[in-house]
């Protein structure tokens, strides 16, 4: 990037505008990923500041808030990776037996008081893969790369997540 182009860097004002308009969306997306209100807030802040520092890379192909959204999601994933790398090391095991651990049960309880009650019944791997594929529109290959696992494992996690969600919805309809 030349010196003349640098003068066209996005202003802080536009970042402030994006914060005012899009923080809710960023927070909800990060909450779905981290399953923790404090960590979701940290992820939004980390991502926003990372975006500011990398603003020279913004090409203007997407809206600024969309570009920040992606960086915020990456910050949330970084937190998840550093918090629970075991989750991903055990992914093959989990595919064989997807019963939630006591820790997952506790997280589930916390999650139920937040949003997407149905997502709370998924394991961490299922929730992450489903959220990224279905809500964030990441491709399976991208998710696999982000967590350094096989694409097939991501695919299976998404399939299991959808199956569980649909079973729950059928049960709910029956009860109603």
């Amino acid at each position: 990037m030349g010196l003349f182009q640098k003068s066209q860097l996005i202003s802080a004002g536009r970042f402030h505008e994006a914060v005012a308009e899009r923080t809710d969306q960023w927070f909800i997306a990060c909450f779905r990923i981290t399953n923790d209100r404090d960590l979701a807030q940290d992820a939004v802040q980390d991502g926003l500041l990372n975006a500011w520092r990398q603003r020279a890379k913004f090409q203007g192909e997407a809206a600024l808030h969309t570009w920040i959204h992606r960086i915020v999601i990456n910050a949330a994933l970084q937190i998840v990776r550093s918090r629970g790398r075991h989750v991903w090391l055990d992914v093959d095991y989990e595919m064989a037996d997807s019963a939630p651990t006591p820790e997952a049960n506790l997280q589930q309880h916390q999650f139920e008081s937040g949003l997407d009650r149905r997502l709370s019944t998924l394991t961490e791997v299922e929730r992450l893969c489903f959220s990224l594929r279905h809500l964030e529109q990441w491709r399976l290959r991208e998710i696999a790369d982000a967590f350094n696992i096989k694409e097939g494992a991501v695919k299976q996690a998404v399939f299991r997540a959808v199956k569980k969600l649909r079973t729950q919805m059928t049960d709910t309809r029956r009860r109603a």
Binding site: L3, F4, K6, S7, L9, A12, F15, H16, V19, A20, T23, D24, F27, I28, F31, R37, D38, Q41, D42, V44, Q45, D46, L48, L49, N50, W52, R53, Q78, S82, R83, R85, G114, L115, D116, R117, R118, L119, R133, H134, L135, R139, L140, N148, K155, V158, F159, V162, K163, L165, R166, Q168, M169
Partner: protein, 226 residues
């Protein structure tokens, strides 16, 4: 027979090869039962993820504006005039040269972290000193460990550091919150198992150096306050 899994992949629009995508498209047009199954799948997926009573913490937006202000205060003017870029580059070169000279002659630690430390030592500053000491020791010890253990230790430190940022905000110490936030990406790099050993060693050295500088300032301030 087209499975539910295949229908799901089809619904994403970008996961199947074009030929497979077109085959399912034709089948959906010709087979009413399949079309109903597909509609039911889409309906369930839409219903599965509707948000339930979530709200953004009210303080988050003001916290983000403040963090952005902290950050832009240091950098917003950087590119307003072309000569500033050269000035920044020249300053960096001087800073690197100063560090090299410092390392060679083993003199006092230069004040690279531009932070004002109050003379009055508070509980938070004591906590920060403990954190910085432990972090330095842990990072140093981790250098001799395997990549997995080193990453694990750094990851724990990053979590502690994050907690301390929150504590700094709660204690109304924005200068420390900013400082600690600066350590976060460095610690996360050290916590990245896939990063190259050389890069990690450099970053680890950098973060320990900066922590040492801050620690020296904090210790000096503490002795002055006694």
């Amino acid at each position: 027979m087209i499975s539910e899994e295949l229908l799901l992949l089809y619904s994403y629009g970008d996961e199947l090869p074009l030929a497979e995508q077109q085959r399912i498209e034709r089948a959906l047009a010709e087979d009413e039962t399949l079309a109903k199954r597909y509609a039911s799948l889409l309906r369930d997926l839409d219903g599965a993820v509707s948000p339930v009573g979530v709200s953004t913490p009210p303080e988050l937006i003001s916290r983000l504006h403040a963090a952005l202000d902290d950050e832009t205060g240091a950098t917003a003017q950087d590119w307003q005039a072309p000569w500033r870029g050269f000035a920044v580059a020249a300053t960096l070169v001087l800073a690197v040269l100063s560090s090299v000279i410092y390392l060679r002659i083993d003199t006092v630690v230069p004040p690279v972290a531009d932070i004002a430390i109050p003379n009055q030592t508070t509980n938070f500053e004591r906590l920060l000193r403990t954190h910085l000491r432990q972090a330095q020791t842990t990072l140093e010890a981790a250098e001799d460990q395997t990549a997995v253990i080193r990453a694990q230790r750094a990851s724990e430190l990053a979590t502690d550091n994050r907690g301390l940022v929150r504590a700094a905000n709660a204690a109304n110490k924005p200068q420390y919150a900013r400082l600690l936030r600066g350590f976060q990406p460095l610690l996360q790099t050290v916590a990245d198992e896939s990063a190259s050993a050389t890069h990690v060693a450099l970053v680890s050295e950098q973060v320990r150096f900066e922590m040492r500088v801050v620690l020296t300032k904090l210790t000096d301030a503490a002795s002055n306050s006694v």
